[in-house]
């Protein structure tokens, strides 16, 4: 039976026979109960990434992607999820789903889909292939803004909000959570889209700095992460640096996630690799180009890619060594500082990876 009245048309279009699989993302009562049962103590929550993934990611969890595209995304945490063989996750692919490689290993089996690909680097042929092979099932289609509003509704303590996004589009026909309703305050027809508040199971957020209790500081685009942290049942903070609580209180004004959301804190320098981290490092652009233009195009290539970069590295330190070690680190820091405006005198040109030209370097 179930308590949620999903759109029948969308269930049919998406061929979802077991709508119960959709429940956790919108099950507010359960999320509230989980939050109420969290330990509120301001205690030292630091553990290793291995421990955090082992303890806080259960097979089948609804996982919220964080950061934006290549920016401040918790990619090293994703790699550890794959290494530990976690299975059947639902991934909220907004604002980015350039993690389609997680489908290959079975870690991600379900997709709440908003964007798949890597912007200028091309569409993700791996995703098409996995979709056709039935290795990933799309549970709901969204726009970026729709997911963002659903998470914001949760943060605002709202069961859901009306939106003018997605109206009239086929997205609505492929999203069981959405309902077109009349604006209750209008006399004349004013169709509006009801977006329910979204409650992911687990969210990894890579922050620039955090204290050991989980107060976490984000600099640059926060995207959906403040809302996601408030909504998610389980929150793991990974951070470039662990700083004293007083440093957060006195110096880190701006975007802060409060400690009581956090279940664990992981000191994880370079945790956004191979993405970029504002203030810390630029992205290795060729890595993404190679992924999209070569590795993603067939099953053999993507397998090799995963073997090399995910299973072939035990942590982000080994990942850095593969990128070029100290030389890469210095260059990546130099470029991100320049791009953010501290220094104009840097050349951003680089040796692009194309199918005919593998420069073999990543900066």
């Amino acid at each position: 039976m179930g308590v949620f009245d999903y759109s029948r048309e969308a269930l049919e279009n998406l061929k979802i026979d077991d709508p119960g699989i959709l429940d956790r993302l919108v099950d507010f009562e359960n999320a509230r109960a989980v939050h109420l049962n969290k330990n509120r103590s301001k205690k030292d929550k630091r553990i290793s990434l291995k421990e955090a993934v082992a303890e806080f990611v259960q097979d089948g969890d609804v996982v919220l992607d964080t950061g934006f595209g290549y920016v401040r995304t918790c990619i090293q945490s994703h790699f550890e999820i794959m290494r530990q063989g976690k299975k059947d996750l639902q991934m909220i692919g907004a604002p980015n789903t350039n993690q389609s490689y997680m489908i290959v290993t079975g870690s991600v089996r379900y997709s709440h889909n908003s964007y798949t690909g890597a912007e200028m680097r091309g569409t993700d042929r791996n995703y098409t292939r996995q979709l056709k092979a039935g290795k990933v099932r799309i549970l709901s289609e969204w726009s970026h803004g729709g997911i963002a509003q659903g998470l914001k509704a949760a943060q605002l303590g709202s069961p859901g909000l009306l939106s003018k996004q997605m109206l009239g589009s086929d997205i609505v026909k492929y999203n069981p959570y959405l309902k077109v309703i009349q604006n209750p305050l209008k006399k004349e027809s004013d169709p509006s889209l009801f977006i329910p508040a979204l409650y992911p199971d687990v969210t990894f957020i890579h922050a620039q700095a955090a204290d050991k209790y989980g107060n976490a500081y984000i600099y640059g685009p926060t995207v959906n992460d403040l809302a996601g942290a408030a909504a998610s049942r389980k929150v793991v903070i990974t951070a470039e640096e662990i700083v004293p609580e007083m440093d957060i209180r006195c110096n880190k004004k701006g975007s802060i996630i409060p400690f009581f959301y956090a279940d664990a804190v992981v000191e994880l320098p370079y945790g956004a690799l191979p993405g970029s981290m504002p203030g810390y490092y630029y992205w290795p652009r060729q890595w993404w180009e190679k992924l999209m233009r070569f590795s993603a195009i067939n099953e053999e290539n993507i397998g090799k890619f995963i073997d090399e970069w995910v299973f072939g590295t035990k942590d982000q330190i080994e990942f850095i060594e593969k990128l070029g070690g100290a030389k890469w680190m210095i260059e990546a820091r130099r470029q991100t500082k320049a791009a953010e405006g501290d220094n104009e005198d840097v050349d951003f040109s680089y040796q692009e990876y194309t199918i005919n030209n593998d420069p073999g370097i990543f900066y």
């Binding site: 098409t128 056709k132 726009s143 803004g145 729709g146 996004q165 169709p191 970029s276």
Partner: protein, 262 residues
């Protein structure tokens, strides 16, 4: 690149896009050509525009060309980097005048597909990116401009998936669906600039690029294009001065405006 070379098609496109941007407006830009066009507009006829980005960057100090809408150049010393929900909220609230987007397919009513090619959602010929912010911008922004290559496959009678509603089924149907704003006001391709006939909201030739004919444009289109009254004007082309600004100041490395070598 020689600076006195004639404008190449990408440079021309960048200029045509930039010509859509009025001074004193707020412009929502994506990566690639729209970004180039925005910066070109600012350096030529529209010095007072403000650029805003999907990842939340507002009015960054201009730097290099971003490779991602989340990259540092989109929020370089921005006074505020908005959370994503607020960034789209700006469009709804009337704080964005115009936005530029690409498409995989666009139909005669300006409906956009960036989801899939094929007629089976579960077995598509190709699965594309999905909406990203495409639907949000097209749904909310006062004026949308669509930019892309024109072929019969990319300009079909009916898109394989309506990612973003343009003028839906024409006439008043966009508004009846509950959407604000004017929807798409222009489509820019290698053939010409198109607008939408005010009553039916069917795509109409507005100008043709030099060397193009209506027949060629129609051959590149999967539906019948409307024609304006009288002779079809030529799309204004960039002056050598503008091309020089584009090459020297906007995209000096030709990242977005040099043609790929074979």
């Amino acid at each position: 690149m020689k600076n006195d070379a004639p404008a190449n098609p990408l440079e021309i496109l960048a200029y045509i896009i930039s010509a859509q941007i009025k001074d004193h407006t707020i412009v929502y830009v994506g990566t690639g050509l729209p970004m180039v066009a925005g910066i070109l507009a600012r350096k030529t006829h529209a010095p007072n525009i403000t650029m805003v980005y999907e990842s939340g960057g507002q009015d960054p100090i201009q730097g290099g060309m971003p490779w991602s809408v989340g990259g540092p150049f989109t929020w370089r010393k921005s006074p505020v980097v908005m959370e994503m929900a607020y960034s789209f909220g700006q469009c709804y609230n009337g704080y964005v005048d115009i936005a530029f987007l690409g498409f995989a397919q666009v139909d005669r009513y300006g409906n956009v597909n960036t989801h899939m090619i094929g007629d089976d959602f579960h077995q598509p010929k190709a699965r594309l990116t999905g909406s990203g912010g495409n639907n949000d911008l097209t749904s909310l922004t006062e004026n949308m401009v669509l930019v892309g290559l024109q072929t019969p496959e990319k300009f079909p009678e009916k898109v394989d998936f309506i990612t973003s509603v343009g003028h839906l089924r024409g006439g008043n149907t966009r508004k009846e669906a509950g959407l604000p704003g004017n929807g798409p006001v222009a489509v820019i391709s290698q053939c010409g600039v198109f607008d939408f006939e005010p009553k039916t909201k069917k795509m109409r030739v507005k100008t043709l690029h030099p060397g193009m004919t209506l027949d060629i444009a129609q051959m590149c289109t999967g539906f019948e294009l409307l024609k304006p009254e009288g002779e079809i004007p030529l799309t204004p082309m960039p002056t050598p001065d503008i091309i020089e600004i584009l090459r020297r100041e906007v995209d000096p490395r030709g990242v977005f405006t040099s043609l790929p070598s074979a």
